[in-house]
């Protein structure tokens, strides 16, 4: 078992578009072969404007490309379909120069018109894209409709100019999201709402077969514009496979990577067997599991109470409950995220201190509350641990164990005093600290139905967040990260959350899989980076 740390955070922190280094192809890599990946659920859609779950996210990445991309196995930006780009001095205009000769899977060459069409499409309300909001900084976003975005302009067939309505330091990351993938208009028009079942992109693979509910086959795109990749001739995704069954099949040599990971019930057994454990790759991920404390619900409106709860939770024990598959968290950002505050210890586990804070708040006798939790293992068990920790300082919490959709509903409506985020916790859309703030801690997400389940709204911090994201100059990237660090320290002061742990990723692979370990815990492609892995025989 090897342990990797995704620490390109540093490169990002030092210079925003850290484009200098690119991927060095594996000299041992062999072309050819086929692998089998399994999933429990059928793939919802392969339309890059619609797909937004961790299963189809990496699949869409292999079928489509955007203007920007990441160096495989890292969080470092690199150009994708854009060959180069320029940012104007005021940070409001991005001019992308496209690669010549890139072909869609239907054989047609990709042009600047396609880039404009794709951005118009994803922001058009009729498309119903869950990712439309990411493009909010493009000029004309508020008026987006059938007329398209006024801020996106085709200069010539290989140049596209995007004008922003406000500086946005995260804009290049936004252009690397699947939602910004370039799609051919004629294929979308032909398929209509079924484009998600008949995707046509410029990616390393093309969809060769999709038998609903059974399997999908990706075939190598021989005309792929990046030289030398992909290595595999095809990838077979078998869906409808229970994780336990997938593991048995892996042990039997029938499966190469179980997409849903190692089932919790089998984790100790797998890790206890050296032969199996050596084929497990462990890596950090941009994830934080937390408890939300609803600041609009007494007594959580008192900061002393929220801090007391922070001090009452024994995070080490909770990490033990999930077999040590995580590290205790001290702050909202995970350690591998740029902007993470090094050296900050958070609220230490201190039962007596917590009791004293409660007494200061006039609640020496404790109080009764409710803890909402998603009803799949291990979340109810974690909730019980939290319940016991709270009981130790006199708080009686009753557990509301519900289906995911019901917990999300209660969180959005603000009717849940406390929520354990497990199963719904935040995993970053892109590796930038701003992505951990707006929807889950900022005022924008605190409204009815938002994902800010604490209903926490600190206008001072919101202003600081806006200031940070307006700091678009790459030379000031370090200052920007400092601003973000300050924002999250401000959050910890107000304590609307109890950050509990940062989950690690465990990807299991068959003995025949090749490629460096980083590809198996790629921060943006879960479970693996399909374009760069290969098979040994």
């Amino acid at each position: 078992m090897k342990k990797l740390l995704v620490s390109t955070a540093l490169t990002l922190a030092l210079g925003l578009p850290a484009l200098a280094q690119d991927y060095t192809p594996d000299p041992n890599a062999k072309a050819g072969g086929s692998i089998v990946i399994t999933y429990k659920d059928d793939v919802a859609t392969l339309d890059p404007a619609i797909g937004y779950d961790w299963q189809n996210w990496s699949m869409i990445k292999s079928l489509f490309d955007g203007l920007m991309d990441y160096v495989p196995g890292t969080t470092t930006l690199r150009p994708g379909l854009a060959e180069s780009y320029e940012i104007s001095a005021d940070g409001l205009t991005y001019t992308f120069k496209l690669r010549a000769g890139v072909k869609f899977h239907n054989g047609r060459e990709m042009t600047a018109e396609d880039v404009k069409y794709s951005l118009d499409r994803v922001t058009n309300p009729a498309t119903q894209s869950p990712g439309a909001g990411f493009f909010g900084s493009i000029a004309g976003f508020d008026a987006a409709g059938d007329g398209g975005l006024s801020g996106v302009e085709v200069v010539d067939p290989l140049t596209v100019k995007i004008t922003l309505s406000r500086p946005d330091a995260t804009f290049l990351h936004v252009m690397a999201l699947n939602f910004a993938s370039v799609v051919p208009k004629e294929a979308v028009d032909e398929s209509g709402a079924d484009f998600g079942k008949t995707p046509v992109g410029t990616g390393a693979y093309k969809l060769a077969e999709w038998t609903l509910g059974q399997r999908l086959v990706f075939a190598k795109n021989a005309d792929y514009w990046r030289a030398g990749v992909p290595y595999l001739d095809q990838i077979i995704f078998e869906v409808g496979q229970e994780p336990v069954v997938a593991l048995l099949r892996l042990q039997n040599g029938e499966v190469d990577v179980p997409g849903d990971g190692i089932p919790p019930a089998k984790f100790t057994e797998v890790m206890g067997d050296p032969a199996q454990a050596e084929r497990v790759v462990v890596g950090g991920q941009l994830h934080t599991g937390y408890i939300t404390l609803n600041v609009t619900t007494p007594p959580f409106d008192k900061v002393e109470v929220r801090r007391a709860v922070n001090m009452a939770i024994n995070k080490d024990r909770i990490v033990q409950i999930i077999n040590g598959r995580a590290v205790p968290a001290t702050q909202p950002l995970p350690p591998s995220m740029p902007g993470y505050t090094e050296g900050y210890a958070g609220y230490a586990y201190d039962v007596d201190g917590a009791k004293k804070l409660l007494a200061d708040a006039g609640l020496a006798d404790g109080f009764e509350t409710e803890l909402y939790v998603m009803n799949t293992d291990p979340n109810p068990r974690i909730a019980q641990a939290i319940q016991q920790d709270l009981a130790a300082i006199g708080i009686t919490a009753s557990i509301q164990s519900l289906a995911q959709a019901n917990v999300i509903e209660a969180g959005g409506a603000g009717t849940a005093p406390m929520i354990w985020s497990g199963g719904m916790a935040w995993i970053a859309d892109f590796p930038d600290p701003s992505n951990f703030y707006g929807p889950i801690l900022g005022c924008a997400g605190a409204g009815e139905g938002g994902w800010n389940w604490s209903k926490y709204c600190n206008e001072g911090l919101d202003a600081k967040a806006v200031e940070a994201d307006s700091t678009y100059d790459p030379a000031l990237a370090a200052d920007r990260m400092k601003m973000w660090s300050d924002v999250y320290m401000g959050v910890m002061e107000d304590a609307p959350w109890v950050p509990v742990f940062n989950e690690e990723r465990y990807t299991m692979k068959s003995p025949r899989m090749g490629g460096e370990d980083a590809l198996y815990v790629d921060p943006v492609s879960i479970p693996v980076n399909y374009d760069y892995v290969w098979v040994k025989e």
Binding site: T45, P125, Q128, P130, A132, G240, Q241, V245
Partner: protein, 306 residues
């Protein structure tokens, strides 16, 4: 007969209408918002409201239901909220697998159940009888999830006789069909046993024996055709029971049927798929019952349809 059929079909249509209304209503009052499932966590409030409007979910319940019914009578089950695919297409692609599994399951349960029942009736009061009845008691109560994993582990992983889940060849069918069949067989063996015991006591059996017929002829030629009548009627009802069972069994064995589709849709609050699968299951149950009633007079002339 024709009048009976017409009346039954009309009642069936009413039942289906009722099922559609109740399901639609339950999904409407469910404290879970499908729009938030579609919009995901990063969506802005505008995106959420836009999706709600595009799907017509901002309209009052009765308008939404009316709209759904209007599509339904034209054979349109709508499009999945998350996959955007036609629900009819999703169901049609999975229905053959489910029908095949049911056929396999019914064959398995009849084979096991009837054999156990007949043997137990003939060996009434012996250790064998008690063992068989105890077995049927256990199989009826065993959780499907456990049985399926157990069969999978023993016969596919350890012995390697059958594939570890999946779909496509007759070998793939054996274990999932057996799982459902074992669970259903308990009812049949008990039913068959008591029915057989009753028949074996009847006068015509005594007559047959008195005529000097062989034991095999008495049992298979005279007793079985009479004892099996109440059992036949059960098969129609079974379809309903299986509809519940396939959700678990299809998930474990990776069987690409509508049970798996339903399970995934429920987790994602994908209302058009949940509605579609519910209606298709309701149609299967209603038709199964109707068929059982229609077939009964042909098997047993004492039954008349009115």
């Amino acid at each position: 007969m024709a009048a009976y059929l017409l009346r039954r079909l009309m009642v069936s249509a009413l039942i289906l209408l009722g099922v559609s209304f109740i399901t639609f209503f339950l999904l409407y009052v469910l404290p879970a918002d499908p729009v938030r499932q579609i919009a995901g966590r990063s969506a802005t409030a505008e995106t959420v409201e836009n999706i709600r409007r595009e799907l017509g979910l901002d309209r009052p319940f009765i308008v939404q239901y009316g709209h759904y019914l209007a599509g339904l009578v034209q054979g349109d089950l709508g499009r999945s909220y998350l996959q955007k695919t036609q629900v009819a297409e999703l169901i049609a692609s999975r229905l053959p697998a489910t029908l095949l599994l049911m056929l396999g399951a019914i064959s398995a349960e009849l084979l096991i159940g009837l054999t156990f029942g007949i043997v137990a009736a003939l060996k009434r009061g012996t250790i064998l009888d008690q063992t068989l009845m105890m077995t049927s008691f256990v199989t009826v109560s065993a959780p499907q999830f456990v049985v399926s994993l157990l069969l999978l582990y023993v016969f596919a992983v350890k012995l390697g006789w059958f594939p570890i889940g999946g779909y496509g060849t007759p070998a793939h069918l054996v274990l999932p069909a057996l799982t459902l069949g074992i669970l259903g067989s308990g009812w049949y063996s008990r039913m068959m046993r008591s029915s057989m015991i009753d028949v074996l006591r009847a006068d015509f059996i005594r007559t047959a024996r008195a005529k000097g017929l062989t034991r095999a002829r008495v049992v298979l030629g005279h007793a079985l055709p009479n004892a099996i009548l109440p059992v036949i009627a059960m098969i129609g009802i079974d379809i309903g029971i299986f509809m519940g069972g396939i959700v678990v069994v299809e998930s474990v064995f990776g069987w690409p049927g509508i049970g798996q589709l339903a399970w995934q849709a429920i987790q994602r609050v994908d209302i058009p798929i949940i509605m579609g699968v519910t209606l298709v299951s309701a149609v299967a149950i209603v038709l199964g019952n109707l068929l059982a009633d229609l077939v009964a007079p042909f098997i047993d002339p004492r039954i008349k349809l009115k």
